[in-house]
Structures are given as C-alpha cells and as structure tokens.
C-alpha cells in the first residue's frame, strides 16, 4: 500500500531535479503564507465579495494585470534559465529534456498568459471609461472570461510540478505532440490549459466588440472614437475570427490523443501539415491581435505628451483595419520551406510585405504627431519613443523574413528568434508598459515613481539590444533555435555570452519595476484631479481617479475627437458644461458563478489531462449545473440611487 502510494507520487509529482524541488517548496510556502495572511487579517470575506465575485470591469482589469505580471515573472525566469544554459558551449546546466520543456512553457506563457491578459486588463480598465460606458456590454461574461483565463493558466502552470511540462514547442507541431512522440501528460496540460483560457479570450473579443459598437457616449460617432478603442475593436475582430480556429485545431489534437483519431498522425491517413496550416491561421493573426492595442496605446500616449492632436486620424483607423484583415492572408510565411512551390510562396511573400505598408504609415503618423508638439519625457512617453526605432528595425527584419527565398536561410535560426522578440518586446511589451504607466493613476489614483521608472526603462532598453542584436548575427552564423548545446568550434560563444548578459539586464529592469511599484504604493501622492498627467485628451481623464463603480455620474455628450481636451479649453474660457440631472444608475450584481464554473472547467481539464474520467465527468457536470443555475437567476441587477451618487461624487471631488 505504502509502496504503491510512493510510486504514484513519484510519477505524479515531477521529481529528481533540485531546481524543480526548490520551486515546489517555494510554491507550497507561498500558498501557506497567503492563507495565513488572509486568515490573520480576516480578509477572506473581502477577497470573496470584492474581488473573486466582482463583475466590475475595473477590478477584473486589475486582476488580469496582476496575473499577467506574475506570468511575466515566470516566463522571465524561464528565459533566464535558458540564456544561462546557452551562455557557454557544451554546458550542462539544463539537460535537453528540461530545456525543451522550458522553451515550450516560456513561449506559451509569454504569449497566451502574459501578453493576452495584460492586453485584456488594459481593455477592461480603459475601454468603458474611454467611450463613456458604465461597464462592458456583458459584465457577467467578462468575469467568466477572466476566470477561464485564470484557471486555464493555473492548469498549464501546474504541469511544472505535477505530471511534467509539455516539450513540443509553443505551437506543438504533430507528430511530435501526438501520443506516438509525447506519451506523457505534458501535452494534455498544453491542450487543456490553452483551451480553457482560449474560450475566455473568444468571449472577451465578442464582449468588447459589442461594448464598442453599442455603448459609446451620445455624440461619439465611430470616427470620433479615441484611437485606443479603435485598436481594441480591430484586435477583437481578429480575435473572433482567429480563436475558433485555435479551439478546433486543439480539439482535433485532443481527439487524436484521447480517442486515437488520426487527424494529424503520420499513419491512418492523418496529415501533420494540416495542423501546421491551421495553427498558423490562428498564430499569425494572434501576433497582430496583441500588437494592435499597443499601436492604440502609442497613439494615445504620443498625442497626450506631445500635447497635440494625433496626426492623420483617418489614416490610422484605415491602417489598423487593413492590418487586421490582411493578417489572415499571410500564415504560410511561417513555413516557406515546406516545399509548397513557387506560386504559393510568392503569394504569401507578397501578402506579408503588404502589411508593412499600413504599419509604416502609422509610424510616420506618430512621428508627425511629435512634430511641432511640446514633448514631455514622462515614462509613458519614453516607452513610446523607444518603441519607434525598435519596432521599425524589428519590422524591417520581418520584411526580410517575408522574402521567401531569403527565409530559406533565416528560418528557424536565431535570426528569427531575434526578430520576433524584437517585435514582441519592442512592440507589444513596450507598448503595454507605456499603457500601464500612462493609465496607472487612472487605475489606482496615484502615479508610479518616475525616477525608479526611468531606471527600469534604461535597463530594459539597453538589456534588450544587448540581448537580441547579437542573436541576429548568431542566426547568420548558423545557430538554430531550440538547441540546448552547441560545439566550441562554431564560434558562437562570445555573442551568446553577450546575449545572456543582456537578458540579465532585463531581469534587473523587472526588479526595478517591482521596487517602483512597492515604493510608489508606500510613498505616493494622491491624485485629486482625475487628469493626473494634466495632458489627458479623452473621456477617461474627465472623471475621478480611481473611477467610482458607476464610472460616470452623468454621461457627457462627447462629440469631438479629443473631447476632454476641448472641454478643458472651454472651461478655461469660462464656458461651463450644461448640467445634466442625475438619475438612478442601473448596475449588474456580483456573481460567484464565473469563479465556480471556471473552477469546474479546471477540474474537468485536470481529469482529462490524467485521463481520469472520475474527475473529468463531475467537473463537466459542475459546469452544466452552473449554466442551469444562471439560466434561472432573474435578480441580477440593481440601481444606485441619486443621493448615493451625490454622496460618492462629493467625497471623490471634495478636494477638487
């Protein structure tokens, strides 16, 4: 009996590696500490009513951001482990199996559990405030999306300590990801972690499209809408077309693994190439899904801190929509080397290059927004300015990769690794950081310490170039991706050392950011104006920071592009806005169902991972019960009465 149990445990838990043991111990200790702290301060009820069951878009946004920063930490540690292994030839810090798991989890986590939720966090907090709405269109669904993401991410991360991590690359090409080559549970964690959170992403896409199309303030025609909201719209349009492809593809892979189907196997008439096509039909749009909102953020930040209208508004909108449509016609550039023939390669090479045109136009428009402005070098603006050269170079190497016959020499080399990190870090991460710094005071009512922020900025930027520029050369020197060792005689060592140093500089930068946040929480100055930077142009800056639950006591008629900027000018000239009478505000009630239902999904997913139907089926039943219960709930909303609004507003604006 005891022996049986021991044997089970040694298979169930990942054992035998001191690094992992350390992680397991520290995870256990952290969890115990959290429980103790919550109990000691009697915070369980607060946690449940204020956060876990909330449907408030602002709180959901904050939870997304916290989760994504934790994932950035995890993905970053993965990155540093890999860079340490690669610093020297023939090093034996991570053996092959471990290295393969780490680049797989790093890729999945960074894209799906770091970039996506950070993006959704910013969508959630900013979009309703920017378009003058009191919440998103479907607040309950919004909470569902968050918890599906959260439990999906937890399931994926669990593979680190239980059962073993996936190791077939972040896109899990078959046959490597099939039972024949990956018999362990790691690949099941991959499928279920991504599936569960993917459903949430699809729902978010739908939610924000409806919110933007239906819930704008009176007078805000689409062509008057702030650019960030436009970018969210274009990104969400891509989401609703791309994510179903991912869901179906992974479901077919699941059928292969679970029921012995032959969609992508080598035998039984399966075809792995079909998977590669399908996954990239999602994968390519996915990179635009994450970068478009970054474009939106830059548009807001550059205009605000140049204190000038955004240049070429109509071009900007057209360019974003063009990008989100064109992104669906380029997927095969990820496998020019599959031997699809010259016609196919020529077609996809040209469609890919075409995307460079609207992207280039956007860069010029940002530049000419700065032209004849009055530029303030605050941290958000620094990120925006640093983004331009970085993204332009990354975009250029992207165009080089799209030149199909040249790609035969770049494909799967470190040239490619350098390229996509340059656009993902220089574009997406820098963009979201700009947004996070810019809107932080809107979220929490105080600014982050600028001094520490500048340290973080310089470490990130210098670290970035030191880390990734050498990798372009390494690619041209023949170094391929996903290798954990290389020979001395290739001459790759010096540049790899440099690259690793750069990675650690970025690690230090992250520590500066943690310090910055901690320091600012302790020593901040409360913002009382609502327009914390003093340069706000759009609706979100017209209300107090942080915004009250209902966001807008009365919803203004926002019929100008930079409504708040114009409004401030009018007020300066003594023109006061027409007072709109207060009315009771209709709000959604909190609900525990999203949390519980997602937990049931997690349970079902966990059961499927280990092929334990006795866990999977109860999990699915739980999901069904949650749906039923929700269907018969009628009491899901309430009104905030006028005198309560008055009291809240007086308290918030009192110091004003």
């Amino acid at each position: 009996m005891l022996d049986n149990l021991k044997e089970f445990a040694s298979e169930f838990f990942v054992t035998g590696d001191p690094l992992i043991l350390g992680a397991q111990v520290s995870i256990a200790l952290t969890m115990i500490a959290i429980v103790i702290v919550l109990t000691y301060f009697k915070k369980w009820r607060w946690l449940w009513t204020e956060w876990l069951t909330t449907v408030d878009h602002k709180k959901i946004g904050i939870m997304y951001i916290i989760a994504s920063l934790l994932m950035l930490f995890r993905g970053g540690v993965d990155a540093l482990l890999m860079r340490t292994q690669l610093a020297m030839p023939e090093l034996n810090f991570l053996e092959a199996e471990h290295y393969n798991q780490i680049f797989t989890t790093h890729g999945v986590i960074m894209i799906l559990f770091m970039a996506m939720p950070l993006m959704f966090g910013l969508f959630n907090i900013i979009v309703p405030l920017q378009i003058g709405a009191r919440d998103v269109a479907y607040p309950f669904l919004n909470s569902m999306s968050f918890w599906l993401f959260f439990w999906g991410a937890m399931l994926f991360n669990m593979s680190f300590v239980i059962g073993g991590s996936p190791d077939a690359g972040w896109l899990a090409y078959p046959p490597l990801s099939e039972l024949s080559h990956s018999p362990g549970v790691g690949q099941n964690f991959y499928i279920w972690g991504i599936q569960i959170s993917g459903i949430g992403s699809l729902a978010t896409g739908i939610n924000f499209i409806v919110t933007i199309l239906k819930m704008r303030a009176p007078g805000m025609r689409l062509m008057k809408m702030p650019m960030f909201s436009w970018s969210v719209l274009s990104s969400c349009i891509s989401i609703i077309f791309a994510f179903p492809i991912l869901t179906v593809t992974l479901f077919l892979l699941f059928l292969d693994r679970f029921l012995g189907a032959h969609f992508f196997t080598l035998d039984g008439g399966g075809n792995p190439m079909m998977y590669i096509n399908l996954i990239w039909m999602w994968g390519h749009p996915e990179v635009y899904i994450v970068v478009l909102p970054a474009f939106g953020i830059f548009s807001e930040v550059v205009a605000a801190f140049s204190r000038k209208k955004l240049f070429g508004y109509a071009s900007m909108v057209f360019a974003m929509i063009a990008i989100s449509v064109a992104a669906f016609f380029t997927w095969a550039h990820h496998f020019f080397t599959m031997g699809s023939g010259a016609n196919v390669n020529a077609f996809f090479a040209v469609t890919t290059m075409i995307i460079a045109i609207p992207t280039g136009v956007k860069v010029f428009n940002w530049l000419f927004t700065m032209f004849r402005g009055k530029i303030q070098f605050t941290t958000p603006m620094m990120w925006a300015i640093a983004f331009i050269p970085c993204f332009v170079v990354g975009g250029m190497t992207g165009v080089l990769l799209s030149v199909a016959p040249a790609d035969f020499q770049f494909h799967n080399s470190y040239f490619l690794i350098a390229h996509f990190h340059q656009v993902l870090i220089g574009g997406v991460v820098f963009g979201y950081f700009a947004g996070l710094y810019y809107w932080w005071p809107k979220m929490f009512g105080f600014k982050l310490n600028e001094h520490l922020g500048k340290w973080a900025f310089w470490f990130w930027n210098i670290g970035f170039y030191v880390c990734f520029m050498p990798q372009y050369l390494l690619g041209l020197m023949g170094m391929t991706r996903r290798i954990n060792v290389y020979d001395f005689d290739m001459g790759w060592q010096p540049l790899n050392v440099v690259s690793t140093i750069g990675a650690f500089l970025m690690g230090i930068a992250f520590l500066f950011q943690v310090w910055q946040i901690a320091h600012s929480i302790k020593f901040h100055k409360k913002d009382t104006t609502g327009d914390s930077w003093g340069v706000g142009r759009t609706l979100e800056w017209s209300i107090p920071s942080p915004a009250p639950v209902y966001n807008f006591a009365t919803i203004p008629v926002a019929d100008e592009r930079d409504w708040w900027w114009e409004e401030k000018e009018r007020r300066e000239q003594g023109i006061q806005p027409k007072a709109i009478p207060l009315e009771p505000i209709h709000m959604p009630k909190n609900s525990a169902i999203p949390f519980i239902k997602s937990l049931c999904w997690f349970t079902a997913g966990f059961g499927f991972v280990f092929n334990w139907l006795w866990i999977a089926i109860p999990g699915l039943i739980g999901v069904a019960i949650c749906m039923l219960v929700r269907s018969f709930q009628y009491d899901t909303d309430y009104y905030i009465q006028v005198d309560e609004i008055k009291r809240t507003e007086a308290a918030l604006r009192g110091a004003n």
Binding site: N100, I357, G360, V363, L473
Partner: protein, 341 residues
C-alpha cells in the same frame, strides 16, 4: 519643390543642423567603427553571408538587396525620431514652433503612403522573381551530371544514402565540388529541416514524402549542416559536416567506404532508427529500395503519395518534362494539404 519659410521641410533641415551636438557627432562614427570591427572580426563565421555555392550566393544577394530597400525607410525614420524628440522637447528656452491643432496634411500623408507602396512593389518584384529562380526542386544548370543523395532525418541523427555509389553514412557526407547535388529528403521522425547554410537555404524533411533540394559547392571545404526544425529530445545533436572534395578524392572516399565499412542491413536500419543520438558511421551498402520504403511506409495504403516538390523514385537525369510536372504538383500543395490528404 519650392520652400517657403513655414514649410515643414525647411524647418527640418534647419533643425537638423542645430541639433547635432559634438558628442553625438563622434558617437555615430564610433558605433559604426565598433560594429564594423565586430563584423570583420568574425566575418568568416557569418556563414550565411559567406556562401560557397550558387544557391547560397543568390540568397546572399537577395538578402543584401532586400536590406538596402528596407533601409530607405528605416534610416530616415530613426533619424527623424531622434530629431523630433530632441527638437520639440518641452524645456524652458526651447522656442520651436508649437501647433497643437495641426493634425492633417494630405500632401504629407500621400507621400508616406506612397513611399512604402513603391518600395514594397520593388521588393515584391524582386522577391517573386527570385522565388521562381530559387525554387529548391529546380535542377541547377551545369554540364556535370548531378549526384543524388537521399537524406533521412531519424531520431536524432541524419542518414545519408548514395544510391549511385551504393554506400551510406550517418552524420556526415562527402560531395564532389562543382557538381550539382540532388538531395532527396524524408523523415522517419517528426518533421525536420535540412540546412547547410554555406551551400544554400533549408527545406523540410517530412515523413511520407520525398522533397527535392538542389545544392552545389563551388569550392572544396568542410561545410556545417544541421537540423533546423525541432524534433525532440536530442535534436541539438543533429549536426553534421559536408565535405566537398575534388572528383578524385570523392571517388577515393567512396572506394574506401566500400572496402572498409560494414553493410547496413534491414535490422541495422531498424536499430539505427531507434531514438537516440549517434556517432559518425559509414556503410558499404544498404538494402535496395530502403529510402522508398521509408517514404511509402507513411503514405496511406502503402502507395506513394505525390507531394509538393516531391520528386520520388530512383534518380533520373533532370529532364524538362519531368520538371514541368514537379512544378505543377507543387502548385497544388496548399489545396491538397488543407484538404487533408
């Protein structure tokens, strides 16, 4: 174009002159020198840009052409970013023009829609023509008859078979210089990619099909090659050297392998195909039709599956009719692969 003093172009020029300060004037050349020094220090190791065969040579030219075309936009953008950020910074005493409502100018916007369009048209034309020119299954022009090497990606080693010579090797290969080499690629493993940077770009090696890749070495030498597409645990061990030699040396090498190496048997192959890395090996013979049987064992119903640049069967001299057919099956690839053959 005429300049009036209010014109943005005019002001730009002015500002550029004013804003270059002494330190910056040295910084740029200094960086340039550093980069050049670094590049020349290890330039013989930048193997992609130091090709030794016609395919790699054309690909290098293409890389340079594309880079220069891109730089036409990239350099001005980076310079303008610096100039604007400096010129319009909000500092006391900075009396640069401030026009908070200037947000539209049709002429300017036409220019920067136009320039990228022109560049992409140029790059598109170059790319498409090279795409046809460098189609990997296209035979190389040469008065010498190409030699055929059948390459199989195994877990985790490369098997090279020389059907004309009747020998086989593992993790290294010899080729005669100045002779086109027709590589036929397949996999008895997850999909890999076969890459010898100094000879030319890579092509996938996939189970159930035989892809064709023509390469040639113009001078004798030892060329690094590797698997470029991840295939699992010991993937990093899948590196090999290709030795390009004179015809005489090549023939000597073949003779030596024939006389001094063991034969590869069916069982020997089965053993070799088991997961694990391997040392260099040579075999004096291999079972007839081994390559074909590896390819067909994955094709549905055991029949051969015509695919992509696939060009199956025993080596044939390149003939135009055959080539025509290869190209047309290649065109169908997307269609049939999404249809799930």
């Amino acid at each position: 174009m005429t300049y009036d003093t209010e014109s943005p172009y005019h002001e730009l020029l002015d500002e550029e002159m004013k804003s270059v300060r002494p330190i910056k004037r040295y910084l740029v050349p200094l960086l340039f020198v550093l980069v050049v020094a670094l590049l020349s220090g290890c330039s013989d190791q930048i193997i992609v840009l130091d090709p030794k065969g016609p395919i790699g040579e054309s690909q290098k030219d293409l890389i340079y052409i594309a880079t220069i075309l891109c730089l036409i936009v990239v350099v001005p953008v980076i310079v303008l970013t610096g100039i604007f950020a400096w010129r319009y910074r909000d500092k006391p005493g900075n009396n640069a023009t401030y026009k908070p409502n200037w947000s539209h100018n049709t002429k300017l916007e036409t220019i920067w829609w136009g320039i990228p369009v022109l560049i992409i048209i140029a790059l598109g034309i170059v790319t498409v023509s090279y795409t046809y020119k460098l189609e990997p299954s296209k035979p190389l022009v040469s008065e010498k008859k190409p030699i055929t090497i059948q390459v199989t990606s195994l877990d985790w080693k490369w098997l090279f078979k020389y059907p004309e010579q009747g020998i086989a090797t593992v993790n290294y290969a010899y080729i005669p210089e100045d002779t086109p080499v027709r590589f036929q690629l397949t996999a008895d493993s997850p999909m890999n990619s076969f890459w010898i940077p100094q000879l030319g770009g890579q092509i996938y090696a996939m189970s159930g099909m035989a892809m064709t890749l023509f390469l040639q070495a113009d001078e004798p030498g030892e060329y690094y090659g590797s698997g470029a597409n991840f295939t699992g645990r010991d993937f990093a061990q899948m590196t090999f050297k290709v030795h390009a030699t004179s015809d005489a040396e090549f023939n000597d090498w073949v003779k030596e392998v024939k006389s001094s190496s063991p034969a590869l048997t069916e069982e020997g192959y089965a053993k070799l195909a088991e997961p694990g890395s391997a040392e260099k090996q040579a075999f004096s013979s291999f079972p007839a039709g081994l390559f074909e049987s590896i390819v067909t064992k994955y094709a549905p119903g055991g029949t051969h599956h015509q695919h992509g640049s696939a060009d199956m069967g025993m080596p044939q001299p390149p003939d135009p009719g055959k080539q025509q057919q290869t190209a047309s099956t290649a065109d169908n690839h997307m269609a049939h692969s999404s249809a799930g053959h």
